[in-house]
């Protein structure tokens, strides 16, 4: 669905490349996770998908078509993005906010159609935000706001769904709910790209993982391929062990204390 081919990104007036030769496939029906330390290029990858980071080299293909040749609105019809941060300047209702997801389909000038309204209702139900659809977005808790943002991306209705650090400010239950929703979206056939810090949660939900380090791919493959102590220790430069999640048996990372002998 989304293919990154050897992409290199350098921000204007920056000597360092933010992404260097990164290749990545985001397939339909699966959760593809991108992980890595702070500053490894995860968010730049998302910005490149949005067309907001200049590609110095390489290509991004969406459904086999070079994204560079697509209009922004055509990309928006295919790929819905939940960015890391979003601070709306003025409060609108959750329903109005979710309805903005239909913008690429009806355009700025077009009239509202039955299909658009149905897609909005569907998204509200799917992301479980119906109960507070008429509240304004400045009156939501962190978890409610994140679900509203997912609802907007679902209303956008593309084949691909990108979420950048969707659980940063959420507690365990709300983070799990967000990951469950992403898993469900993937099982329904969409291509999900998940960018996250939370290696252990990612390990339980992702089908494929790509580990970025200083703008390059440090490891890529199945969860077991990437969640290896030697790989992660090198990238994060911190002593750690990889154990088994006691409940489901997926690999789980356990950072160690730096002091010798203190586990």
């Amino acid at each position: 669905m989304i293919e990154c081919r050897n992409i290199r990104v350098r921000y204007p007036r920056q000597a360092r490349v933010a992404l260097d030769g990164v290749s990545l496939d985001v397939a339909r029906g699966a959760v593809t996770a991108v992980v890595g330390p702070n500053g490894s290029g995860k968010s730049t990858l998302v910005r490149a998908l949005l067309g907001r980071a200049p590609l110095e080299d390489g290509r991004i293909l969406i459904d086999g078509v070079d994204a560079g040749g697509l209009r922004r609105v055509d990309i928006a019809r295919r790929v819905a993005v939940v960015t890391q941060r979003e601070e709306p300047a003025f409060p609108i209702t959750v329903r109005e906010y979710v309805a903005l997801g239909r913008l690429p389909h009806r355009g700025a000038w077009g009239r509202d159609t039955q299909a658009n309204r149905a897609a909005v209702d569907d998204a509200l139900r799917h992301a479980e935000v119906e109960s507070y659809a008429d509240r304004t977005i400045d009156a939501l808790s962190g978890g409610e706001w994140q679900r509203a943002r997912f609802a907007r991306a679902l209303a956008q209705g593309g084949e691909a769904f990108v979420a950048d650090e969707p659980t940063t400010f959420l507690d365990v239950a709300h983070a799990m709910a967000v990951f469950e929703l992403l898993g469900r979206v993937a099982r329904e056939g969409r291509a999900v790209l998940l960018v996250s810090h939370d290696l252990n949660l990612v390990a339980r939900f992702a089908d494929h993982m790509t580990l970025l380090h200083e703008g390059r791919v440090a490891a890529s493959g199945s969860v077991a391929d990437v969640m290896r102590a030697d790989v992660l220790e090198r990238v994060y430069e911190w002593p750690l062990v990889v154990t088994r999640d006691p409940a489901v048996g997926s690999p789980a990372l356990l950072p160690l204390r730096r002091a010798r002998g203190a586990l």
Binding site: P12, R47, L50, G51, R52, R71, R72, V73, D74, I75, A76, R77, V79, A80, V81, T83, R85, E86, E87, P88, A89, F90, P91, I92, T93, E96, L100, G101, L103, P104, R106, A108, W109, T136, Q156
Partner: protein
């Protein structure tokens, strides 16, 4: 809101230095009554009320659009150098001794020039329409314009200074139907375009990345909104000088009245703005008869306390 607008408009037609009853005013309006009353109502008060309504509507819409696209609740139409540029144009025209009828044209040209310069400065930084850079560019152009006015006025005679200052304080006193008609055309065209772009504005108000994710060409859409909103503001400045605080205050009143989303916000800002400026112009006319208070000063006196209250609510 419509009702409040109608009440304000009727009051503004009826009250004045010459007292005319509602019934007489209506008679004059439909062509009856004595000639003096008819002249006062149809050629003095009515164009003035319509001009005030258009000023308020234009500044309200312009302010609402700019606050949305700049994602800044303290943004207003004069922020991008519109007021400074217009004032420079007007002061040059006044001190060059141009016919008074040409002053609005000079003001309009000055305002457009200032906006173009501000956009050009922002563009030159390659910030791709970053709202913070645009605000800074506008402020800098405005400061430059103010300095230019000081220099121009420093060696002018008292008459020029008085004319220039009176113009900078804003007034709907010299309203004519012709003036009203072309301001109406600007407000209708610019306001219509902004209302049509309401959904794009909703998306832009979420932030650049989110708007881009929704398929909005952020840089060009932002530029179109800035330019349109500034042109509408420039047209109001050309018609009546600087009427401060309307563009800042009105969108906040409209939001408090429950306008959510830019379509509702732009439309109700037009109504609220029209009502406010009609009321302010009425106060300017009747507060200290037979003298007139400057309209810009009255709106600012109404606007400043509200501005401070909004500031308090934000912190």
């Amino acid at each position: 809101m419509l009702a409040a607008l109608l009440v304000a408009a009727v009051a503004a037609v009826v009250f004045g230095t010459i007292h005319i009853g509602v019934a007489d005013a209506w008679q004059a309006l439909v062509g009856g009554g004595d000639a003096v009353t008819r002249f006062v109502i149809r050629d003095l008060r009515l164009p003035r009320v319509v001009l005030a309504a258009l000023l308020g509507a234009g500044l309200g819409i312009s302010g609402a659009a700019l606050q949305g696209v700049l994602r800044n609740p303290l943004a207003e139409p004069y922020l991008l150098g519109v007021s400074g540029g217009a004032a420079v144009g007007a002061v040059i025209a006044v001190s060059a001794g141009l016919a008074i009828a040409l002053v609005p044209l000079a003001a309009f040209a000055g305002a457009v020039a200032a906006v173009v310069v501000a956009l050009f400065v922002a563009h030159a930084t390659r910030s791709r329409g970053d709202p913070r850079v645009l605000v800074m560019a506008g402020v800098v152009v405005g400061a430059f314009a103010n300095a230019a006015i000081m220099l121009l006025l420093a060696n002018s005679d008292a008459n020029t200074v008085r004319n220039a200052v009176w113009w900078m304080m804003g007034s709907a006193a010299n309203a004519t139907w012709a003036q009203t008609a072309w301001l109406g055309a600007y407000v209708a065209a610019g306001g219509g375009l902004l209302v049509a772009m309401a959904r794009t504005l909703d998306a832009l108000a979420l932030g650049d990345d989110s708007a881009a994710g929704l398929g909005v060409e952020v840089a060009s859409a932002s530029r179109l909104v800035y330019l349109t909103a500034s042109l509408v503001a420039a047209a109001t400045v050309a018609a009546a000088g600087l009427v401060g605080f309307v563009g800042l205050v009105v969108p906040h009143i409209a939001r408090r009245l429950g306008a959510s989303g830019h379509r509702a916000l732009l439309l109700s800002s037009a109504l609220v703005g029209a009502t406010l400026v009609i009321a302010a112009d009425l106060v300017a006319r009747v507060a200290l008869p037979p003298a007139e208070l400057p309209l810009g000063a009255v709106t600012a006196v109404l606007g400043v306390p509200f501005f401070l209250a909004t500031l308090r609510r934000m912190t």
